[in-house]
């Protein structure tokens, strides 16, 4: 191929693209904005407000430090594990683990940073090129599996696996094992130091309970919420949290001092209860029946759980499994589930329970699918055999783009 041929090829490929209609639209929008004469005054006012906040924060910190318990309701560790930091190489030398089927997990930080786990390997979206990078290769035997994945800050992220708690302090770029407990499932860290983890030895969740850490996951203590078993916990503020189990939902409004029952699911058997709140008032609770009867139940509250409205019934999408609640707004939620033929189906509930909309997303996933949402961004990972498909949307799920990643190194057992 010579230069002339390349020219021809380029023109043939791109000249058919319709021309840009109005290249100055954004310039016009910008220059038509009213001139902001008030901006300097606004900046000065903002600086004053920030100064006041800083002064108030300094005074508050001094006050807290002078309090007898240093402002932290610290509970002494009970039956804590030894805090040992493992490097990935050391992980491979830890005792063999009970192998779990690999599943995908997803966590979105922003439109620039996201994580996907496949088995016990973790991928991070690269902000420099078009690839997802393997930032944590997992155990050498790949018998591990990440069970939950969560961003806490821009730098700190956690992942529970069947061989312990993994932590990243550099924005997901590298991971280390901070605790070798094999019984950790779901996690909810409120800061880089304080967090809550659902733990238990039964894979079905019959003995799941809550643990609390105050040292970034190095040690854990038992934490009671007056509910047993517990399959889900979510802290929305430093005072407000909800926990759910097959029995129902409990909540605290005083930072965990007292937990009160808010909702009973009724006659089961149920499993895998979940709660999802977008603020201290609006949220959903969801529980699956372990058999066909009773079916799944979904509830909604708009007053922090004082009143729950049942949404379950004939409108609930039938015949679904491996579903997980993704709350996207005060009255909207999504579930990515699988139909009987392993087809990934995305169900959205956008008008406060009056109607579900379920749409197949054109993927199959024998080994599970997960979705995460942040603002209008949706990230979906579906694992089928030796391949994981990562799909992304920036418009709330209306249009999707996707990339396929060979997952065979991590899914072979």
């Amino acid at each position: 191929m010579d230069e002339r041929e390349l020219r021809q090829l380029l023109h043939s490929a791109y000249d058919r693209v319709p021309p840009l209609r109005d290249p100055f639209r954004r310039v016009r929008e910008y220059s038509d904005q009213p001139r902001a004469r008030w901006r300097p005054a606004m900046a000065a006012a903002l600086a004053c407000v920030m100064g006041l906040f800083t002064a108030a924060a300094v005074l508050l910190v001094r006050d807290v430090r002078s309090a007898p318990n240093a402002g932290i309701d610290y509970r002494p560790p009970v039956a804590a594990t030894v805090p040992v930091v493992y490097t990935p190489r050391a992980v491979a030398q830890t005792a063999s683990v009970v192998s779990e089927p690999p599943t995908p997990r997803v966590a979105v930080l922003s439109d620039q940073v996201a994580l996907v786990s496949v088995g016990d390997s973790i991928l991070r979206a690269s902000d420099t090129d078009r690839t997802w990078l393997t930032v944590y290769p997992g155990r050498q035997d790949h018998a591990g599996n990440v069970r939950d994945l969560e961003w806490v800050t821009r730098d700190v992220a956690f992942a529970t696996s069947n061989y312990g708690l993994l932590r990243s302090d550099d924005g997901g770029g590298s991971w280390r094992l901070v605790n070798a407990r094999p019984d950790l499932w779901r996690l909810d860290f409120v800061s880089s130091g304080e967090g809550y983890v659902v733990a238990g030895t039964d894979t079905q969740g019959s003995d799941w309970h809550l643990l609390r850490t105050n040292d970034g996951g190095a040690t854990f203590t038992a934490y009671s919420v007056r509910l047993q078993p517990v399959t889900w916990v979510q802290w929305v503020s430093d005072k407000h949290a909800w926990a759910a189990g097959p029995e129902g939902v409990v909540a605290t409004t005083d930072g965990g001092e007292h937990w009160q029952a808010q909702l009973a699911f009724g006659k089961g058997p149920f499993s895998d209860a979940q709660v999802g709140f977008v603020d201290t008032g609006h949220g959903f609770a969801y529980v699956r029946g372990t058999t066909s009867q009773p079916g799944p139940k979904l509830y909604q509250t708009s007053d922090g759980g004082r009143h729950w409205r049942g949404l379950a019934g004939p409108d609930m999408p039938p015949g679904l499994r491996d579903d997980q609640l993704v709350v996207t707004g005060p009255s909207s939620l999504e579930m990515v589930t699988q139909s009987a033929a392993d087809r990934v189906v995305r169900c959205t509930l956008s008008d406060a329970g009056t109607g579900w909309s379920c749409v197949p997303v054109g993927l199959t996933a024998q080994l599970g699918a997960r979705e995460a949402a942040r603002g209008p961004i949706r990230l979906l990972a579906a694992l089928r055999g030796d391949q994981v498909v990562i799909a992304a949307s920036t418009d709330g799920g209306t249009t999707w783009s996707r990339v396929e990643v060979d997952a065979s190194p991590w899914t072979r057992r």
Binding site: Q8, L20, V27, Q112, A125, S401
Partner: protein
């Protein structure tokens, strides 16, 4: 004072119509550059709109007497880089999910091969090919956009072209176009 110098001075003074008059001749080239770099009409439109806005806001820093086109195409190229670099979701689009319908979906196989081959090139190398062989810019202008001397730009462009020649699928595509 030439017409374009007059427009430039008025645009620098905040005359938007003068700005539009000055940059209208370059909008088509900017859009073609963005389409070839981003392989996506919507992203290309986004990049050109952003580049126009940046040019409008930074026009005061533009030195009178210099050529406007390479200055503006440099902004467009940087916008394309930012779009590709900035978002993890933008780089995993499939062709059929990004485009405006028939014009892209009806692509010939050899055009798809070309887009694939270009996509595999690093962005700086792709930029060289697009500037030289699609926009037909002289090497002096290519150098002003990518940086370095015209000789260096020429030598780098030929190196990339040699690299592209080794791509078998593109050789076949070129043969089909010839046929």
């Amino acid at each position: 004072m030439t017409l374009s110098e007059g427009l430039l001075e008025r645009a620098k003074g905040g005359d938007r119509l003068a700005f539009e008059g000055l940059f209208t001749p370059y909008a088509a080239d900017a859009f073609r550059l963005a389409v070839a770099m981003l392989q996506c009409r919507e992203d290309a439109e986004d990049a050109v709109q952003n580049a126009m806005l940046k040019a409008w806001r930074r026009l005061a820093t533009f030195r009178t007497g210099c050529d406007v086109r390479p200055w503006f195409l440099t902004i467009v190229a940087n916008e394309c880089r930012s779009l590709r670099r900035g978002r993890w979701w933008s780089v995993v689009r499939l062709a059929d999910l990004c485009g405006d319908g028939a014009s892209w979906r009806d692509s010939l196989p050899q055009e798809i091969d070309l887009r694939r081959a270009l996509t595999r090139l690093p962005q700086d190398q792709r930029l060289l090919l697009v500037l030289r062989y699609y926009l037909d810019l002289p090497f002096a202008e290519v150098a002003a956009i990518v940086g370095g001397s015209p000789e260096a730009a020429k030598s780098r462009t030929f190196r990339v072209l040699r690299k592209l020649r080794r791509s078998g699928e593109l050789v076949e595509a070129a043969a089909e176009v010839q046929a």
